[in-house]
Each structure stands twice: as C-alpha cells, then as structure tokens.
C-alpha cells in the first residue's frame, strides 16, 4: 500500500467519531437545543461499548447499548430544557460531568484493578470486492468496517431528510423560529425531545467507536477532546451535513498527520504535534464563523405563554 493510500484509509476511519458526534450535535441544534455534553457522553459510550463488548463478546451489542445510554443522556437534555425549561448550557455541562464520572465508575466496577489491560476484538474490515481494488482511494472508501459505511450513509440520509422532505422543513423551523412552528401546529417540545435523543445516541456510538475500532482498550482519556472538537466542527460545517462531512475529514486528517509525524520521528516535540489539530481548528474557525449559518433560536428555550419574546 502506498503511503498516501494508507493515510487516506486512516483519515476516513478517524473521521467517523467526529462525524457521528457532530451530526448528533447538529440534529439537536437544528431543533434549537445546543448540547455541550459531547465529550462526556462519548466517554460514557466508549466505556459502555467496551464493557458490553468485553462481557458478551459482541461488538454489535456494545454499540447498541452505547447508543442507548447516549440516547438517555440526550433525552435528559431535551426533557430538562423543554419540560423544565432549564438553561441549556448549564444542563449540558451537568450532563457532561455526570457522564464522565459514570464512564470511569462503570469501568472500575466491572473491571476493577487488573494486572493486564483487558482487550476486546476490534470491528472487522468489510472489503467490498472490486471497488476496494481501485488504486489510491479504493481501500480508503471500500475496505472499512461496518460503522464507517453506516456513518457515511447516515450523513447522506440526514441531508436528504432535512433538506428534501417536508418533515425536515418542519424540523428546521423549530430551531429557526419555534413560535412560528408552534403557531402552525408543529410540536416544538416533541421535535426537540426526539432530536436530542437521537443526537445523544449518535454521540454514544461515536464514543464506542474508539475502543471498538482503534484501541481495543478503554482509558479515561480515550476521547481526547474529540467531543469538544465536534462542537467546533458543527459550527465549521454550518450546521449542514454535507459540510460537516468535509469538516470531519479535515479534522481527521489533522489528527492522522499529527500522529504520523510523531511516529516517523520528525525532530519536533510530540506535545507540539498534538497541538496541531487544535491550532488548525482555531484558525479555521476564525474564518468559518463568519459564514456559518447558525439556527436562529439555537440555545434558547421556548415558552408558548411567555409574553416577552
């Protein structure tokens, strides 16, 4: 395999957690709920995904339960901000801390102290015949694990749903102008509840991806800021699936390049290389924020009977 082909393949894999977490953020955000608990929910997804897979030997079950626990946290965000109308940022931070704590706790309860690091089998690659033989990009696009394909399909599916269906039009109106949506009979709270739940589930899967594909082990630092970057990425992608895919590839490429540079023994302190993705993010965001089209009502709760809005 050429150097380029292998870098491309790594980049596509590394893209998935960014992509899933960011699509999850986008989904709730388009209905007006801004989540800041990605980093925590991803860690919890990683922990649950790893432990279930370790206990049952089934990575599919691990992924499903990671989605489930992520969904619970997403639902909690939706419920606290629609039914109780609590501040989205404060609730999001609380959920971040709760999920982070729970993730480490579960691992310690189930595994405890052990001399050897417990490992799980990573997801197998599914090579699509013929297509995966295409030079350069063949292996990057068509010799990946199941989740990579599903994530790509999800991005396309979400784009179609949000921008080509009437139901998607209704959904987006809730984040743009919930009062207008409400006045036309679109259920604001219900829309926010299901989008935050689905969004949370995606974040859970994004987290589970890391132990089940990359590392085969769980550590408390496994997410490594990807959750926070997913927030930036969602803005960078202008809250639209097609640009989020592009952004996720960019972030993943930064990740891979930094890693590769470290391995290849270039004479630069590794700490400097680790900073690369974040500096790149900062630079890109300075420009991206200018054109990012943020949902008008992002982060604000809706109260039908409020007389001040």
């Amino acid at each position: 395999m050429t150097e380029f082909a292998s870098l491309a393949q790594l980049t596509v894999v590394a893209m998935v957690p960014f992509l899933l977490a960011s699509l999850g953020t986008m989904l709730g955000g388009l209905a007006g709920v801004f989540s800041v608990s990605q980093e925590g929910v991803m860690l919890l997804g990683a922990s649950v995904g790893f432990l279930v897979s370790y206990g049952t030997g089934s990575s599919v079950l691990g992924i499903l339960l990671a989605a489930g626990i992520g969904g619970v946290f997403g639902f909690a965000l939706g419920w606290a901000t629609t039914v109780l109308r609590l501040d989205q940022f404060v609730v999001g931070l609380a959920l971040f801390f709760a999920a982070t704590g729970l993730a480490g706790l579960l691992y310690r309860i189930v595994i405890g102290q052990s001399a050897t690091t417990p490992r799980v089998d990573t997801l197998p690659r599914l090579e699509i015949p013929l297509l995966s033989d295409i030079p350069l990009l063949g292996r990057a696009l068509f010799a990946q694990n199941l989740l990579v394909y599903l994530a790509a399909l999800l991005a396309v599916g979400l784009w179609f749903y949000l921008y080509r269906t009437r139901s998607g039009l209704d959904l987006r109106s809730v984040g743009e102008n919930p009062k207008a949506a409400d006045s036309l009979g679109i259920p604001v709270a219900r829309t926010r509840l299901w989008t935050t739940t689905a969004g949370g589930a995606l974040m859970g899967v994004a987290g589970a991806f890391l132990p089940l594909v990359f590392t085969a082990t769980y550590t408390d630092t496994i997410i490594g800021g990807r959750g926070w970057l997913a927030i930036a990425l969602t803005f960078f992608g202008g809250w639209r699936p097609q640009f989020i895919v592009a952004g996720a590839l960019f972030f993943a490429a930064m990740d891979v390049v930094a890693l590769r540079a470290e391995v290849s023994g270039i004479d630069v302190p590794s700490q400097v290389l680790l900073v690369v993705p974040y500096v790149a993010t900062l630079l890109v965001m300075i420009f991206a924020f200018r054109w990012a089209k943020v949902p008008q009502f992002l982060g604000r709760n809706y109260d039908r009977e409020s007389r001040t809005a």
């Binding site: 102008n177 009062k179 207008a180 006045s183 036309l184 009979g185 679109i186 009977e305």
Partner: protein, 537 residues
C-alpha cells in the same frame, strides 16, 4: 388541501346556520395580572368583526386563547355550536381557525412556499404543487406575492400577505388578524381591506383586532369593544362613529384633550385637524442645533442601512421621522444617540463633531435617548429603579463623595423623581424590569430629562402604552420643545407624528425622501413617500 370541517352536531336545534364561533366566560391571568376576566365574543358567518380597545384591554390575549396559544383559566369555546377544547394551535387549525399575529411569525430564511406549507407535512404533493396553489389563492384574493422569493427579502406588506396566505392555504373559515396595519402605508392598508372583502365574500369570517378606530370603521360590519379584560359592547358599524367608539374604548372622555385621545386611538383626521389648529412653530433661523450630514451606518448584519443621510434640527422644534419599519429607523435612532458607529459623515451638536466620540462626550453634549425597545435598551431589568435612574450620571459631581458614589444623595433623588414622574413602583429598590411598560417609559423619560438634554431622540415612544402613559409622553415631548430642546421623534404612527411634529421627514431605505411642514401633512401623500415613490420621479 382544506382543514377538516367539523360537521354540524347531530340534533342541534339551532335555527338557521349555527354561529361559527362563540366564546364565553373566558378568564386568564398571568401571575398576578388579570388579562381577561369573564370575556365573551361571538362571530357571525361571513362578517368582518372588529375587536377594539386600548393597549392592555385583552384583545390579543382573547384571540390567543382561541388560537390555542394561551390556555384559559376558565371559559368555554363553541365552534359551529359544538363545545371544543383548544389545547394548541394544532387544534385550532383543525377547527378551521387561522391567525395572523402582530409580529409576523415566519422563518425568514425560508421561501414563501416553504413558510406556507410548514406543518402540513401530512399533506400530499410537492412544493411545486403548493406553489401553484399559492399563486391561485393570491390571484383570487389580490394578495400578490412570489412563492419562490425568500421571505426576508420581502417588504413588510408582502410578508403580511404571506401570513394571510398561510391561513387561507389551510382552508380556514375564521381568520384572525392582530393589528394587521401597524407597519403598512395607507395605500397598503387599502389593498389589505380590498382583499379582506374578497375573503369574506367567500364565506370566511374575519376578526380584525385593532386599536385604531378609523380602520375598524372602514372595514368592519360589527365592532366589539374591550376594556379591562372584558367585552363591554358590540355595536353595528351603521350605528356608531369615531367619537362613539372612542368613548367606549376609553370609558371617560371628560377632561381628556380630544386631539390626543384621537391620536392614541388612531382617529387620524381628528388628530391632524386638531393639531393643524395649533400655531405653527416660527421658522427657525440661525444654525441648526443638531446637524447630520452624509451619514452612512450599518445594521446589525453589517449591511449599510443609512446611505448618506442628511438632517437638520433646530432648537425648540420637534422633527418627526416617518416611515415603514425597517427602513433605517433603528439605525438612525442609534446613530443620533451615539450608540451605533458612524461609518461616514458627521453628526454635530451645537457645532461640535460627535461622530466617533465616546458615549460620555455624547452625554455631556446633552444628547438623550428614549429607545424603541425599552425593556432591552432602556433599562437594566434586574437592577433597581434607583440604579436605573442613576445610570449614565454615575460620574456626575453631584453624586460623588470622595471617590465613591454618594448613595444617600442618589436615593433622595430617586425618591423625588419617582414622585415627580408618578412612577408606579413597589419602592425605589424594586427591580425595574418588573414595572409595567408605561412606568418603565416614565423612568426612561425621567432619566433623560434629568440631564436637561439639548437633543432628545425618541423612537416609537408610545408603542404599547395605555392612553394615560401616552399622554404623559406627549406632554414631556412638548415640554422639551418649549425648553428649547431639539427633538427628533421617530415613529411609525402617522397620527402621532401629525399631532406632535413641527416638521416631518420621510425615511425610505436609509434616505430622507421627502419633507413636509405642519399644516401640509397628507396621509396618502406621505404614504406614497413611505412606499418609496420619490417626489421627483
């Protein structure tokens, strides 16, 4: 597609066709404020029914209850003789009720057709089909609008037509319009009325909410008057007139100056006729106190909103600035108040240049500002009344002792001001945000007058105020003028401007497109200017 038409109840013994709508015993409180108490309302088929009353009378609240936006504390609603429970707008739409809100409820980044079909995703057919149906409806009712246009590129008048189309598209048989004429030129109002006549001719009933007696008299067949949260009378158009309505709305006309009551109630002819009798302020000579030349300023989105604007205002004069909302009024007000950067041009007060100067210099030059959004820009809602009255004067020598604020003096002064301006507050330490709109406006005015301003800038100063508070504002504006202040009154209400302004300019698309002196105010002529038809064209 059409809204599901509820069948008439079997065995209903109502002779003739049942009333499409009756409401009875409706009560609704917000916290300790009682907005509706035992209100009732009845609508006949195919009529335009006026619902009038002063600010806070409960008109909008009553219709929001009907539309499912507010849950009533008590009361019954019958549609076609059958009792219904309306929990949400979805229920109301299902019953054939549609509402056009005063603040247009649109997703501004969506196209017209997308806004219209929102929430009907159960319906069949694509957007193309929907667009055809919109075109058909707009042709039939004279509601011209391009279904493909993006909503935020449309004029306010066109956006309002979109709102009406939204309701018609859903096949509503009851159309509620809440203050639909607020931002329209007189010509657009006429066109709206023509459309409404077409709409009722096809059997739809219309509820027309307004606080403007003149408009209600022009379009409505029957008129219900609300006061203090209840309906106090319903009269046929033929048996009432402006004065009759005004006295019903206000309750007591004795002791009120008719011209002001008329202006507040929108009986414009009366207002301007009365105002025209007042002496015309003598033509000023000497240099203007406030002179603005070639001012360019951007709106909040960084787009130029004022394009080289020129204005001159002399001491002892009220300059009215008329125009449809969104033509640069907010930007002009903020430029004149020194809170929005001037990109180009100059703003001089008494000969000294203020463009680009820090706010402190504007304040010391005697510029005072009464902003349009008094809750957001006029006060600090969570701070006390005392703090708010001090705001801006905190560095004054009068309130300083040592390096600190002399709170004893500040409190004394606050108590005194609360008395003099009759600000109704639980106490000087109550949070200002809890006061009613009228009292917040008194507070803002009190603070502005404290500085003995030489230039006073007001934008829509009586919007949302009851008659008494509106009169208070009018009196203060006259006081300021008589004291030699240069007053700039920016308002969307032509009646108000006719009443107060010595000279009026029309703002269109960030430029002054025309000027009239007192005695030469003609609503239709001004309306043409407001619609952008230049005099030289």
């Amino acid at each position: 597609m059409s809204g599901p038409a509820p069948a008439a109840p079997a065995g209903s013994a109502v002779p003739g066709s049942p009333r499409p709508l009756t409401m009875s015993g409706i009560s609704k409180s917000f916290g300790s404020v009682r907005a509706l108490s035992d209100a009732d309302f009845e609508l006949a088929p195919g009529e335009v029914h006026g619902l009038v009353g002063g600010n806070g009378a409960g008109k909008t609240t009553l219709m929001n209850v009907l539309y499912g936006l507010y849950r009533p504390d008590a009361g019954e609603v019958h549609v076609d003789g059958r009792e219904v429970t309306i929990r949400s707008p979805r229920d109301a739409i299902g019953l054939g009720i549609g509402m056009v809100h005063q603040h247009l409820l649109q997703v501004s980044t969506y196209s017209v057709v997308e806004n219209v079909v929102l929430g009907t995703s159960g319906g069949s057919g694509g957007l193309r089909q929907a667009a055809r149906r919109i075109t058909e409806l707009s042709d039939r009712f004279g509601l011209a609008v391009d279904p493909r246009a993006r909503t935020d590129r449309l004029s306010v008048g066109a956006r309002q037509r979109v709102e009406i189309l939204k309701v018609l598209y859903r096949g509503a048989r009851v159309l509620i319009l809440d203050e639909p004429t607020t931002n329209l030129t007189p010509q657009e109002v006429d066109a709206l009325f023509a459309s409404l006549r077409e709409i009722v001719a096809e059997g739809t009933s219309v509820v027309f909410i307004s606080h403007k007696a003149r408009e209600v008299l022009a379009i409505c067949g029957r008129i219900s008057v609300m006061r203090d949260g209840r309906r106090i009378a319903t009269v046929p158009r033929a048996s009432t007139d402006a004065t009759g309505l005004a006295s019903l709305m206000v309750g007591e006309l004795a002791g009120e100056r008719t011209s002001e009551v008329a202006a507040a109630l929108g009986v414009g002819e009366v207002a301007s006729a009365a105002a025209a009798e007042e002496p015309v302020a003598s033509t000023p000579d000497g240099p203007a106190l406030l002179s603005v030349s070639g001012v360019v300023a951007h709106n909040d989105h960084g787009v130029a909103a004022l394009h080289g604007l020129d204005l001159e205002v002399w001491a002892g004069e009220v300059l009215g600035v008329a125009g449809v909302a969104g033509n640069g009024q907010v930007e002009l007000a903020e430029v004149l108040a020194g809170v929005r950067p001037v990109r180009q041009g100059s703003v001089r007060v008494g000969g000294s240049e203020l463009a680009g100067a820090p706010t402190r210099r504007w304040l010391s030059a005697g510029v005072a500002y009464v902003p349009e959004d008094r809750h957001r820009d006029g006060i600090l809602g969570a701070a006390t009344v005392t703090d708010n009255l001090l705001l801006g004067a905190q560095r004054d020598r009068a309130y300083r002792r040592g390096g600190m604020i002399d709170w004893r003096r500040v409190r004394e002064h606050a108590r005194d001001t609360i008395d003099r301006y009759s600000i109704k507050t639980p106490g000087p330490d109550a949070p200002a945000g809890n006061l009613s709109g009228g009292n917040i406006q008194r507070l803002v005015l009190a603070r502005a007058f404290d500085r003995e301003p030489s230039v006073l800038v007001l934008q829509n100063p009586t919007r949302g105020l009851d008659l008494r508070s509106a009169r208070f504002v009018y009196d203060r504006v006259r006081d300021a003028r008589d004291r030699g202040c240069a007053v700039v009154l920016i308002s969307e209400d032509l009646d108000e401007l006719s009443l107060l302004a010595d000279r009026m300019v029309v703002l269109y698309s960030g430029e002054v497109v025309g000027e009239r002196r007192r005695g030469h105010y003609d609503a239709y002529e001004l309306g043409r200017l407001m619609a952008g038809l230049r005099e030289d064209a």
